[in-house]
Symmetry: C2
Subunit: 338 residues, 2 copies
Amino acid sequence: MRGAMIHAPGDVRFETVDDAKILHPTDAVIRTAVTCVCGSDLWPYRGAEPIGEPHPMGHEYVGFVEEVGSEVTSLRPGQFVVGSFATSDNTCANCRNGFQSNCLRREFMSTCQAEYVRIPNAAGTLVATAEVPDEEFWPGLLAVSDVMGTGWWAADAAEVKPGSTAVVVGDGAVGLCGVIAAKELGAERIIAMSRHESRQKLALAFGATDIVTERGEEGVEKIKELTGGIGADSVLECVGTAQSMSQALHSARPGGNVGFVGVPHDVAVDGQELFFSHVGLRGGPAPVRRYLPDLIDRVLTGVIDPGKVFDLTLPLEQVAEGYKAMDERRAIKTLLTP
Amino acid sequence: MRGAMIHAPGDVRFETVDDAKILHPTDAVIRTAVTCVCGSDLWPYRGAEPIGEPHPMGHEYVGFVEEVGSEVTSLRPGQFVVGSFATSDNTCANCRNGFQSNCLRREFMSTCQAEYVRIPNAAGTLVATAEVPDEEFWPGLLAVSDVMGTGWWAADAAEVKPGSTAVVVGDGAVGLCGVIAAKELGAERIIAMSRHESRQKLALAFGATDIVTERGEEGVEKIKELTGGIGADSVLECVGTAQSMSQALHSARPGGNVGFVGVPHDVAVDGQELFFSHVGLRGGPAPVRRYLPDLIDRVLTGVIDPGKVFDLTLPLEQVAEGYKAMDERRAIKTLLTP
């Protein structure tokens, strides 16, 4: 079969790769319906994370069950399934606590920009839709498998509540999905921090009420102006740099909450500063599995349409161009069709 | 009048100080009923915080209203009052959000080891009891003004819930009060980390179900053993060092919560480690004012007795010995009677 491999920074190739097959009785293999490129894929692509040996890429997927291992009794070939970038047995103590992305048997997916994908812990990871959804819903369901689930988690970790004010730091696909989540969770005011017109437009379409173009301490000042001088109830940190984390922490009001979902790169939080801020901080890889049934339902009933974050669609074989377009910020997020 | 002054590390003197008097129409002056020495007073006493010019000490107090400023209409001379180490108007946005210790008009108290004390923001800060309580309740009410309020906040910030497992890091007065709070909030299992027999006994009397004497990563291993391998739901960090914070963060389960109430000294939290732990972190100076009515009620009805943390009582004029006894760990906490 064929799939994407990264060889070096800036060098992603579509080539023949090992066939996806059942390795454990708890595995399934799916035929990819659609997959995509993630903002986090750009870290190695840009040389900000070591690559080592050439390896497959991709952790977002929806598809059709092709084959299941002998212990997977809840799924059958032909079903349309949505999963998560982190696999989970959905039965361990951490899963039962709602943190499936910290499952004791967790494996991070990394081979999804391909025609077929092996899914470990298939029974606990995959959620099948009642019937095969119309193709128009596939991008939305694909978003649910990562960026929409992650945006939801950001809003959840930031404790967005009805009537509250939320700030979203980061205008990538996750940040934009964070706007959707904040709206769904009842935020009255949603301030998106963005300086890119196309992203601002999408943020407003998703429910943002204000746009702040300033960054850093200037951005924080602007947030304070918009929030009676004290800051926002909830801040969704959807980037992962020291600057974005500082911006997020300073934008929250005393007693407010920051949910951080961008994998932190060189971020250290000063204990005394956090202490005197009274801000609550929680982050991590999104427990997408916890949200899947609800988010799938919201997509299929048309309540949300996170598929709009895909503003470029390419055949899977042009995956390299998909990375390039995102790296150059010509695209928010690239959908790939096998 | 007379009060405590710190001149240098290890050098606290009881001497003539400026009289407490009304400086602003929102002030009150109280006659001290009882006051005490706080674990945090030991930071400058031990030379771990700069002292600068000699200055008064103390931030814990209960007393009798002696005089009120012209704008203080809710209090009258003779009333017995309980306050907080942080004053608050109890009307600003942060106060309304329940974070009175981040009041926009906050002043930190620092002159309370004295015969009389000026209380800024008196109307918002002080809570009067219905009548003058019996002297036996004074130590408990004094504890409420700081260590019990802080222990409660630690448990609240760590989101202790009925049936949960809580770990308390730190066996000082705040940690011991944290045990009381965890029990009141319904924790089923309360693990106190302590290697001092007198403190272990008090922790058990307050409701601890387990004692762990190991520290650092050994202590964390022990916590994991006691919690099915994953860690505790809630951890109360009541020390404020890099080691205690690390111990607390590693003792919490994925998705658990750390409430940190020891003022952090040289503590930096690694963003990526916090991220992958899924642990929620919130701390700060306790919003004691939020809890005062409830905690006063619990003390006066005998539901809790945090006054037991005082294991040494001295006349106020022997305040220097009070510091010394705590510094040498001969006393958990020193009560001072004017």
